[in-house]
Symmetry: C2
């Protein structure tokens, strides 16, 4: 008896993995959450039918959303993380000894509990005592913040469902104000390959461009996301992500990474022409 999980890119394209065991299926107040054990990808977290992460390649996403901004702003002390209840982003962030405070805002506490129960390689991120846990809506959380954070990481789901508010102009404006004068915001920014994803990328990056003086997109090869060619937004009040890349704590503290390195950092911003065009015209 073969059990397969299928994720639909759209109605014409799909990706499937063979399942050893369907470990969990629950509905939180916000979303449907499944945990799978698979032969090729190990443990897989699925939310509302979409792959959030897999054991095999989550390191790529989490390294790129953390070490890229930290290499540009290594002196970052006060960080806000919105989303990422799985813990992977926190795991990477807490590798930096110089960070003093991490405000972690996750709307769905159940994701954190599930991470504790099923994803040991991720929930280790929660153990650090620099983290303050806020189980609330990140959109509301930033509404009253001003000049507070050096770095905001928006580690969200897709712009449909609970994550939708994290892609609005209002949220980006509040995040801008919540940042210090040289602060940086990075976010999960979809993809440019499938039409539906491309539209979301274009809209999100267009909003960031209107609000931040310096806005960029960077890329990573994440095979279990649709197309394998995933994008992040990098919105900055002051720093250029390539010109201001520093021999950072990543090198100084010998932080161990399996994907990220100083060259990959630069290459991430060297976008294929068709994606650069979308970025330029957004």
């Amino acid at each position: 008896m073969e059990l397969w999980f299928t994720e639909f890119h759209n109605e014409n394209s799909k990706f499937s993995m063979k399942v050893k065991e369907h470990l969990l299926s629950v509905k939180s107040s916000f979303q449907k959450i499944d945990v799978l054990d698979t032969y090729e990808y190990g443990r897989v977290l699925v939310i509302d039918g979409f792959i959030m992460l897999t054991e095999k390649d989550e390191f790529i996403y989490h390294e790129m959303i953390v070490h890229v901004p930290m290499a540009v702003y290594p002196q970052a002390r006060n960080i806000l993380v919105i989303g990422g209840g799985d813990g992977g982003t926190l795991r990477e962030l807490t590798k930096y000894p110089n960070i003093e405070n991490i405000d972690f805002v996750e709307i769905d506490e159940m994701v954190v509990e599930i991470s504790r129960d099923f994803f040991p390689f991720l929930h280790c991120g929660f153990e650090d005592n620099r983290i303050n846990f806020y189980y609330e809506d990140g959109v509301k959380f930033v509404e009253n913040k001003e000049d507070t954070y050096d770095l905001i990481i928006v580690d969200s789901t897709d712009p449909i469902g609970p994550g939708e508010g994290l892609f609005t102009e209002e949220f980006y404006k509040n995040a801008y104000r919540a940042l210090k004068e040289d602060g940086i915001l990075v976010n999960q920014c979809e993809s440019a390959y499938f039409k539906e994803d491309r539209r979301e990328f274009e809209r999100a990056i267009g909003k960031l461009k209107r609000i931040f003086p310096k806005s960029y997109a960077y890329q990573a090869n994440i095979p279990t996301y649709p197309s394998g060619h995933w994008l992040f937004g990098f919105a900055s009040k002051k720093y250029d992500p390539v010109l201001d890349q520093k021999a950072s704590q990543w090198g100084k503290y010998n932080i161990y990474t399996k994907y990220y390195n100083e060259k990959v950092h630069k290459g991430a911003f060297y976008l294929p022409t068709y994606i650069q065009n979308i970025l330029d015209e957004a």
Copy 2:
């Protein structure tokens, strides 16, 4: 009634696309060839059950296998192309006015005929009168060549079946001798994500390293290949692909590309740590 084509990455992972029409299914002397018309990917060429190219993203593969070496060696005059009976590599190569001669060696003439009948956006590559057509085995073709070519492009299928000989040490040695003293060989070099592909990449790049003084791998985001993170070998007698990158004919003749640009060229060689490690230890 829904018709889907499925490609298996291995027994635990697969990728499927919805089919409008199954246009062709034939067996040549060498391989089984199918042509599909699909909703998301347009026309798709399948050989022995594996996706060779799709209308949607073939430009990525063909641009990267041609414009990368041509930017390092823009004065290349005499080129050998082995494989690529679809015509896409020739289409990109013939954009360079300074190339004088292209020896095109394809073992399976039926692929060329099928390209002419079903892939107009590819077979335009065949129209150029600088091309000499050889319907023979590329492994044998190079056996008696010496100091002949500036560039050899090995645009092969996978190392199973007719393409197998193009991944052998003997072939690489003969190709080395067929190149001029500053010649370059580039090849389709599989991927590092799935264990089976990774082994092939490691073996091929290891052989190239033992034969050529300067051997590298470079990457491209090709969503319809397994993992979306595909690799090419760059084996050189003299030139470094990044340090010796020149403001080339690509810029000089305003060659139109949708993926390749001068920055992507550099970024292609900036490999993630886990892939760089495989390259270093191969």
